[in-house]
């Protein structure tokens, strides 16, 4: 199994959710996150005083999927999140040792 984490622009979240649903991914976790990459932050002006805001808002999406579909899921997330502009985010995957469904106690891929 793989844990796929995607940091994307918050307004692309709906597209990513739709793409994942079409692939049969049944669950996901979303967190509001802040960060910066190459685009750095932005500038705000209050009474003429400029403030640099380094961290920009992002959505952090996490899904755990079976190894066989991991690449398809990554491709789908990247396609849905891309705007072609700087600040589109990152997607990465790491191996997952085990998963347990809390309600039933099922383990491994059955718990997904």
């Amino acid at each position: 199994m793989k844990l796929i984490t995607a940091i994307v622009k918050p307004y692309r979240l709906d597209e990513v959710k739709t793409a994942l649903r079409e692939l049969g991914v049944h669950g996901l976790t979303v967190t509001e996150a802040s960060g910066y990459g190459r685009q750095r932050g932005h500038t705000e002006v209050y009474r003429g005083a400029e403030y640099r805001v380094d961290l920009v808002p992002k959505a952090r999406i996490e899904v755990v999927v079976e190894d066989a579909v991991a690449d398809d899921v990554i491709d789908a997330v990247v396609r849905a999140a891309r705007t072609g502009k700087i600040g589109d985010g990152k997607v990465w995957a790491v191996p997952v040792e085990t998963v347990v469904r809390v309600r039933t106690g099922e383990r491994g891929p059955d718990a997904l």
Binding site: E44, V45, Y46, R47, G48, A49, E50, Y51, R52, V53
Partner: protein
């Protein structure tokens, strides 16, 4: 032949009753205006500094302030007597002009309240609350009351001897609060992280709401200062609207050219700057004069708010940049724009009055600013020595809301909040149940 006893005019009294309520609303409005500009950790403290001033100033004003400001002159036009301390001798039948004296005293009280509250913007986020509770009443007696006597008290030297004009309080309210704010922020020193950390306003909608309430109340402040329901009140009312508008547009114009964006905070600040400047002049200049006064304040104040970064004083919410500078602009421009149709006699330079009126306005401004600054600086130093004027570093860093008031303004859904640790209501309910 019988002498008719003076009695109150019902129309004038009705208007001043309403105007007094309008001016009182300005202080909660100011609390929101200021509260939106600070960070989330000390917003309740900011609101409290204004709100508590309503109670503190009212008590000290009724005890002695009103009498010292508006009692018979003790000599030299400097201070009134104590004959009306505790509002002694003022019943429902006492009349001031065409309104009941108790109403006039209450109207004036609402001015004293907001002037003290205005200072809090200069010392946001770091003032020890207990010291503020002492500062406000003492400052009211030492600074606000004498200046008010000079300008509006019977025999006051600025109006009666010097002959300077101030319709609704450029001197006692705007310049006094601005110069005092400067003095107090110098005594306190800058906030932790001044010029290093981002100290962004946490709630701009709150700032706009506050500015709106201030503007609404300002009609009572300025048009009420005619002390009657008449044409002068109406003209002052229109001037107040006009100057707020040109102040707003002037500030936005500068921002668009200088920073590239017209901001919400700029619009609120510009309107307030225009209103500050028209305060002394709303009943002395024509409509054209009011438009110019507001525009001048909007443009100049939009630059004045950044002086603190160059000169290194942390006037946190720009009491100096808006109230001192705007108050000076409005008071001085009377010397140029004073119009006989409004003043009933005095004329400014542009109406053929010569340079003398300008000189009188400048002298009054200098005297009031110097007095307010030096007395407040001395009082601040004294209180700092006696009580400590500044909150501890830990309190300031954590935020005064939690450390002073044991509250937080916003429920961010923090994990770990449980049932009240102790609360009288459930215990009482339980007791009643057991007894039954």
């Amino acid at each position: 032949m019988t002498l008719a006893a003076p009695h109150a005019d019902t129309g004038d009294t009705a208007w001043l009753l309403a105007a007094t309520a309008l001016v009182l609303l300005m202080t909660p409005g100011l609390a929101l205006f200021y509260g939106g500009m600070v960070r989330t950790k000390s917003v309740l403290n900011m609101l409290m500094m204004s709100f508590v001033s309503i109670a503190l100033v009212t008590v000290v004003w009724l005890a002695a302030g009103y009498s010292l400001a508006f009692g018979d002159d003790l000599g030299g036009g400097l201070l009134g007597g104590l004959e009306h301390a505790g509002m002694r001798g003022l019943g429902p039948d006492s009349v001031h002009g065409t309104v009941p004296t108790v109403l006039f005293a209450t109207f004036q009280l609402t001015f004293a309240i907001i002037t003290a509250a205005l200072i809090s913007g200069a010392v946001a986020d770091r003032t020890k609350f207990s010291a503020w509770l002492v500062f406000v009443p003492v400052w009211t007696l030492l600074v606000y009351v004498p200046v008010t006597h000079w300008v509006w008290g019977p025999g006051g030297w600025i109006t009666d001897r010097l002959g300077a004009l101030d319709f609704a309080g450029g001197l006692p309210v705007e310049i006094t609060s601005g110069a005092s704010g400067l003095a107090l922020c110098l005594v306190l020193g800058p906030r932790l992280g001044f010029k290093k950390d981002a100290m962004r306003p946490h709630n701009l909608p709150m700032v706009i709401l506050g500015a709106g309430l201030l503007w609404f109340g300002w009609f009572g402040f300025n048009a009420g200062s005619a002390l009657g329901a008449n044409g002068l009140a109406a003209a002052a009312f229109l001037n107040t609207l006009a100057a707020g508008c040109t102040g707003l547009l002037g500030w936005l114009f500068v921002e668009q050219r200088r920073d590239g964006h017209p901001t919400t905070l700029g619009a609120a600040s510009g309107a307030v700057a225009g209103l500050v400047a028209i305060t002394p002049s709303c009943g002395t200049v024509s409509l054209l004069g009011a438009l110019v006064v507001g525009l001048a304040a909007g443009v100049v104040c939009s630059y004045a708010v950044s002086w603190k970064f160059k000169l290194d004083y942390d006037d946190s919410l720009d009491v100096v940049g808006v109230h001192l500078v705007g108050g000076i602009i409005g008071t001085v421009l009377i010397g140029l724009f004073a119009d006989k149709a409004m003043t009933g006699g005095a004329q400014g330079l542009f109406h053929g009055g010569g340079l003398a009126p300008l000189g009188r306005q400048l002298l009054a401004v200098a005297a009031v600013a110097a007095y307010a600054f030096s007395v407040t600086y001395g009082l601040g130093k004294l209180l700092d020595k006696a009580l400590g004027l500044r909150a501890s570093e830990e309190q300031e860093y954590t935020g005064l809301d939690l450390t002073v008031h044991a509250e937080t303004a916003y429920d961010h859904g923090v994990l770990g909040h449980g049932a009240p640790v102790s609360h009288s209501a459930p215990l009482t309910a339980q007791k009643v149940k057991t007894q039954a």
